[in-house]
Every structure is written in C-alpha cells, then in structure tokens.
C-alpha cells in the first residue's frame, strides 16, 4: 500500500514565494523547500544589499543566458517569476486594474507584463500603490533581454527601458522555423553575446573571467541535469510526487541556475524523490488512477483548484514542458549561442514541439494531456490546436483544453475546468477498459 499525504502544503508558488505564502502544512515542509525558501530570500536580500552599496542591479528575461551576469557577479532579478508570485498569492488584481486603467494598456497583453509594468511605475514613483511585498523586486539599473520566449518580452522591456530610463542589453535569439539552429543564427547570436559581455562590463565596471565562466557553466550544467532528472523520476508508476509540486522549484532554475545553492536544492529534491521511490510512497494525495501531461504555463491563480479537481478524479500530472525547459547544455560561447537560440518556444516549431511531446507522453506513460489555453500568451496558443491534433493522433492519447491565464485570474472558470477534466477522465477510462479487454 502506498501512503497518501495531504496536498495543500505543497502548492504554494512558482518558487520565489514559497517561503512567504504557503498555507500551513499538514506534513513538515520537505527540506528541499526549506532550502528553496532560503535561496529566494537570499536572492532578493542580496539585490537589496547590492543596491544599498551602490552597485548596479538588473532585471532579466527568464531564459537569458544568466551564466553571463553570474560570471560577472551581478545581482539579477526576474520579473516573470516575480509576477507569477504575485498572481499565485492572488495579489494581481490591483495591478491589472491599474495597468488597464491609469496606465492605459489593453487588457489583451500578457498579464506578467501588466503586473510588472505597474510594479515598475510604482518603483519609479509614477504610480501610487502599496506593493504587496514591500518592493523587494528592487528598481533595476539595467535590463537583460532575450526574445527566445516570445516577442512580447521585447516590447515589454522597451517600455520598461523608457519608463525607468535605463539601458537594455539585448540578445536577439531569432525564432527557428527549422528543426535546427542555422549557422547564420549562431554567428549572429555569438557576435551579440561578445558585444553584450563588453557592454555589460563597461556599464557595471565588472570584468570577465574565463575561468569563472567555466565554473559557472559547469554549475549550470549540473543544475540542468538535476532538474531534468527530478522530472524524469516521475516516470515511476505510481509517480513519487504530485506533479504540480515540481512547479514550486522553478525559481531554482529561472533565477538561480548558475548558483551552487540550486545544486543543493535540486540534489535534496532528487534525494527526497528517490526516498519516495524506495519507500513506495508518494505525495500525490490519492490513488493515481490516471497519468497526464500538462501543456502550457501553470495557471498560477488557480493552482489549488487545478490540483483539487485532478485529485478528485485521481489524475496525476506527471509530465510538463518545464522538464526540458532548462536543458540548455553547451561547452563554449558558440554552444551557448546555439543552445539559447533553440531554448524555450524559440525551438518550438510544430514538428519539434510534437516530437518533444510525443517522447514525453511515451516516457511518462501519459494517458491524456491537459492543455492550458493561456489567454496571456499568444506564442504558446496560436499553433497549439494543430499541435494537439497531430500529437493526439500520433500518440493515441486524448487531450482536454481549458481556458485560463498564467496570471490574470479573470480568465478562468472553475466549472469549465472541472467539466473538461471530467470529459477527459471519461475517455481515459474507456481507453483503459478497452486496453484491459484486449
């Protein structure tokens, strides 16, 4: 018999908020989460202290080659992750209202951007609002931008740069319509990396050290490996964790990928998962009747509702695209150019996307896919219907979609989510029965 454990302790945040917001746990918080909380605290505190010392602090896009600022010893914060934190704590409302009100933005825009643009204007004393975290995302002196996730980030950062009157250090990573990175892209991206290192050194007064870079690259590689490994351990049947819990650890990769503190968090996490496997336990709170994959960003404002509903039907989410999101392995700056050019949605032309998902569905023994139609995010949605159709046909696995948003709580219906999950469960059940009959 497997032990089942209460779930609510574990659905807290995409990481940075873990320490601050988690409801009272019924079981002791795993040590990995404690370490993660400390890491998050350190990230914000170090940035604050650096600011106090008069050092320059930056904000960065989440899939920027952070090995660069890490090598330079710069303090960097991550708006996407921060906005997700605000959303998961149900604090986004005043930001969204102000963004669409006083700041005059369309409600069509990405809610991460909306939250952050307001946050920035408050830091800049152009808007008034009490910041729910007291302003710990300190005002930046520069921005680090890549467009390998989406084009909205480019526009969002243009606006931040104008609002805060600060420079943007930009690596244009060029979307890949082909299944590989063309050599012309590698040359262009590499040239930008070289220039960016020079410009950033000049701006911050830091100097580049090749040896340090190699060390950071090594740490980063180890962290990517540990991250992927923790996801891969979910292939055990039943899975050792309630899959949503892994979302909590994202900040170790988004904000601290080149740090040894992430190695500690992820080694601990791997050890905890292995222990579950050894002991035959799981943190999934009920019997794992169905295994599914999750497509798209988490629906942060309704994570608990998602989990409660899935639990009700014994559905465990054992695979998501986050598993390979930071599998950015390379050995030198050319390799870095190639890797970041193919990272995230930049490498998601439909064939690559389908191949990646097909592999995951097989590896993790998924019986269905839940696909989050994320109102904020055109880049992840506008080709998804065709991808899901082909994927479902090739894998013989059904999918259900639901409307949501990664940060705007207004774009979700609990009833719709439940109905869609019910429908999916029904088909998965029939498939299971048919298989049993064979």
């Amino acid at each position: 018999m497997r032990e089942t454990q209460a779930d609510q302790a574990k659905i807290s945040t995409p990481g940075e908020q873990a320490a601050a917001s988690a409801p009272k746990p019924r079981r002791p918080k795993p040590k990995s989460m404690v370490l993660l909380g400390e890491q998050t605290e350190a990230l914000f505190e170090n940035a604050r202290l650096a600011k106090e010392r008069g050092e320059k602090v930056g904000w960065s896009a989440s899939i920027f080659p952070q090995e660069i600022p890490e090598t330079l010893g710069l303090n960097i914060l991550y708006p996407e992750n921060h906005s997700a934190g605000i959303a998961v704590r149900h604090q986004a409302d005043p930001f969204l209202q102000k963004c669409e009100g006083a700041l005059g933005y369309s409600n069509d825009l990405c809610a991460y951007a909306k939250v952050n643009l307001v946050y920035a204007s408050v830091l800049n004393e152009e808007s008034e609002m009490e910041l729910p975290d007291g302003g710990r995302l300190v005002k930046p002196d520069f921005l680090l931008l890549t467009n390998n996730i989406c084009n909205q980030l480019t526009k969002w950062y243009e606006n931040l740069a104008r609002e805060l009157d600060i420079p943007v250090f930009f690596i244009d990573t060029c979307y890949n319509p082909s299944d590989y990175v063309t050599e012309s892209r590698v040359r262009y991206v590499r040239a930008q990396i070289d220039q960016l290192i020079r410009d950033l050194c000049e701006f911050t007064g830091k100097s580049w050290d090749d040896e340090r870079f190699k060390e950071i690259m090594e740490i980063s590689r180890r962290n990517s490996y540990l991250w992927e490994r923790s996801y891969n351990l979910m292939d055990c049947k039943p899975a050792p964790l309630s899959g949503f819990e892994l979302f909590n650890y994202m900040s170790a990769m988004v904000c601290n990928r080149g740090k040894e503190s992430s190695t500690a968090v992820l080694e601990q996490l791997n050890a905890e998962i292995e222990e579950h496997i050894r002991e035959g336990t799981s943190t999934f709170p009920t019997e794992e009747a169905f295994r599914v994959s999750w497509d798209g960003i988490a629906c942060w404002p309704y994570l608990s509702h998602n989990l409660r509903t899935l639990k009700k039907y014994g559905v465990n989410m054992v695979a998501s695209s986050y598993g390979k999101a930071w599998a950015i392995n390379y050995e030198d700056l050319d390799g870095m150019a190639r890797a970041y050019c193919f990272a995230s949605t930049n490498g998601d032309n439909a064939t690559t996307m389908i191949a990646r998902r097909l592999e995951a569905l097989k590896k993790f023994g998924c019986e269905g896919t839940i696909y989050h139609v994320n109102r904020s995010c055109k880049v992840m949605d506008c080709q998804m219907m065709e991808v899901q159709r082909q994927l479902s046909a090739q894998a013989g696995v059904p999918f259900a979609s639901f409307n949501g948003d990664q940060a705007d709580y207004r774009n979700y219906s609990e009833a719709q989510f439940e109905t869609r999950i019910q429908g999916l469960v029904e088909i998965m059940k029939q498939n299971k029965e048919a298989k049993a009959d064979d």
């Binding site: 700041l103 005059g104 933005y105 369309s106 069509d108 825009l109 990405c110 467009n147 989406c150 084009n151 909205q152 480019t154 526009k155 969002w156 243009e158 606006n159 740069a161 104008r162 943007v168 930009f170 690596i171 244009d172 060029c174 979307y175 890949n176 319509p177 063309t182 012309s184 892209r185 040359r187 262009y188 040239a191 930008q192 220039q195 949605t345 032309n349 439909a350 139609v373 109102r375 995010c377 055109k378 880049v379 949605d381 506008c382 080709q383 998804m384 219907m385 065709e386 991808v387 159709r389 082909q390």
Partner: protein, 326 residues
C-alpha cells in the same frame, strides 16, 4: 513573380477556428480562413515574417493547414545595432531565394535585383509625393480614395504602380488647390480598414492628411540605400534603417515624436490610433505615443480595428465626439 500583400479582409470565420484561438488578430484569422477555404489559391508561395508572436505561429499553421501553398518563413533580426545582423539577414534572404527558386524554377540575378530595388525606391518616392499632393485636394482624395491608392500597390506589379501614381499626382496638380474646411487627422496603427470605417471619418468632417499605418506609409518611409554592397546587402541595410514601427525593436518609444512631427508637417489637428484588435506589438506602443502626443498638444483618439466585426455604431459615436472636440 508579382508579390501581393495578404492583409486579411472581411471573412466569416469557419475553418480558421480550428487553428487559431479567438484572441488572434483579425488579419491572421482572415488570412488563415482564406488560405484554408481556397480564396488564396493560385499563389505560388507565401512568405511569412515572424515579427510578432501570432506570425511566428502562423508559419506553423500555414505549413500544415495550407500545404498546397508553400510557406517560406523569414526571421528578421531585431538587434539592429549589432553589425552581425546584416550578414544574418542576408542569409535569411538567401534562404527565401532558394525556396522561391525551387517553387518557380527561376533564378534571381544581381542585375534584376538592382533594377527592382531602383523601381521600389522610385515607387516609395511616388507614394510620398502622392501623400503630399493629396493634401491639396482633399475633396477628391477622400480617406477611402487615399487608402485605395495605397492599398492597390500590393496588387500591381511595382513598375506598373510606379507608372500610375505619378499620373494621379500630375492630374491633381493641374487642379487648383482645394481649401478644405474639414479637420485634418493622421492615422496610426496597422491598417485602417474596411472602407466603412474610413467613410465614418468623412461623414464626421475628418480628412486624412498623413499616416503611420503599417499597410500604408510605413511601407514607403525608408528607401533602400543606393550604395553599400550587392543588392541583398543593401536590402538588409534598408531593414536596419527602418524606424518608428511597432514590429521592429527600437528604444525610446519614438512613435510619439514621429507622429507629432507628421502632424506638424501636414498641419494635422490630431491623430487617430487605429488599434488592431489583439495586436500586442501595437498595444505596447499605444499608451506611450498617445501620452507623448497629448503632451505635445495633439489630441488622439484610439479606435479598435476589427474587420471581422461588422458593427461600427460605437466607433461612429466616438469619432463624432472626437471630431467635435477638434
């Protein structure tokens, strides 16, 4: 080959709904529908620049949804300050050429390319000249007429259009200048269509004296340099010289200044921002240029452009109020 512009149109969405969510812009929705329902049959290929997130995805939707019309993606560089962007863009152009050659069995040669660049530059100059000349004849060149001249460029062979437009300009110049009692506005945005929308401007005593529309004058603002290397290199340099476009990364949010300058040059009373529905690149620019225009003393009205939606009553009222306010 004759390049044509695919700017969507008034369509009833049926097939596109299986490819795009409801919050993709109306241009892409209509383009997808026309691709799927055969309206675009006859095209040898479609070139899709991935300059926004929706367009990125469109490359993939087209690839699978409309396999009878080959899709050629092009990924323009956005870090134009990087000198390496030029060689990169040349290689993108070369990829486009390779696919075009495969599709058509024809090869490009340098002389033909240089000649074409010259025609395009002449055409740009003609369109700018037309835009200026039209302002003295706003009785004839109504908003709809102006738009028709602009849009027709996408459906003629360039040399043909380059020959027609000077005729229009010459004919206008033979007429006495018309002293227009109407208010003068500049249009900004992606497109200002369909004609019903432009008619509302006229009904409310507004005439268009200039524009910053992606479909219209943004096409003609920047010439290809005459020097700087072979044809492809010069075309790449032209991309790097473009400015004031929401789809090209630029710091400082320069559109407010650009629009104020357009107002000054054309003695415009205000700006109408034609905000394409669900067009996020434009939506990020709009609050800044609107604020900058206001600060510069130019009133600005934002209307939502959605040619898939037939209802114009609300827009009519808002344009009327704006016109009265001017």
């Amino acid at each position: 080959m004759i390049p044509m512009g695919l700017w969507g149109g008034q369509a009833e969405l049926k097939l596109a709904k299986s490819y795009l969510p409801a919050f993709a812009c109306p241009i892409m929705q209509a383009d997808m529908e026309f691709g799927l329902n055969g309206t675009y049959e006859g095209l040898s290929a479609v070139i899709i620049p991935t300059i926004c997130d929706t367009l990125r995805c469109m490359t993939q939707n087209w690839r699978f949804g409309v396999p009878t019309i080959p899709m050629i993606p092009i990924v323009y560089p956005q870090n134009r300050k990087s000198p390496a962007s030029v060689d990169y863009l040349i290689s993108e152009y070369e990829t486009v050429l390779t696919v075009l050659s495969t599709v058509t069995g024809k090869m490009m040669n340098e002389a033909a390319l240089c000649e074409t660049i010259e025609i395009y530059n002449t055409h740009n100059a003609m369109m700018r000249e037309f835009s200026r000349a039209a302002n003295d004849h706003l009785d004839i060149i109504t908003p709809v007429e102006r738009h028709t001249v602009m849009k027709s460029a996408f459906f003629y062979e360039k040399s043909e259009h380059t020959a027609i437009v000077p005729n229009i300009v010459e004919n206008l110049k033979t007429l006495p200048a018309y002293c227009c009692p109407d208010k003068r506005v500049i249009l900004s945005g992606i497109t200002c269509e369909p004609d019903e929308l432009l008619e509302i401007l006229r009904e409310n005593g507004l005439c268009v004296v200039g524009d910053d529309l992606a479909q219209e004058m943004r096409q003609y603002r920047t010439d290809t340099p005459e020097k700087g290397g072979g044809g492809l290199r010069r075309l790449a340099l032209q991309w790097n010289n473009r400015y004031g476009c929401s789809l090209i990364h630029e710091l400082g949010k320069p559109r407010g200044k650009l629009l104020a300058e357009l107002c000054r040059e054309n003695e415009a009373d205000g700006v109408i921002c034609c905000l394409m529905k669900f067009c996020d690149p434009e939506e990020y620019d709009q609050p800044y240029y609107e604020a900058d225009l206001r600060a510069g003393g130019y009133p600005c009205l934002t209307v939502e452009v959605d040619h898939l939606n037939a209802g114009y009553e609300q827009i009519r009222t808002r344009i009327q109020t704006f016109s009265e306010m001017l």
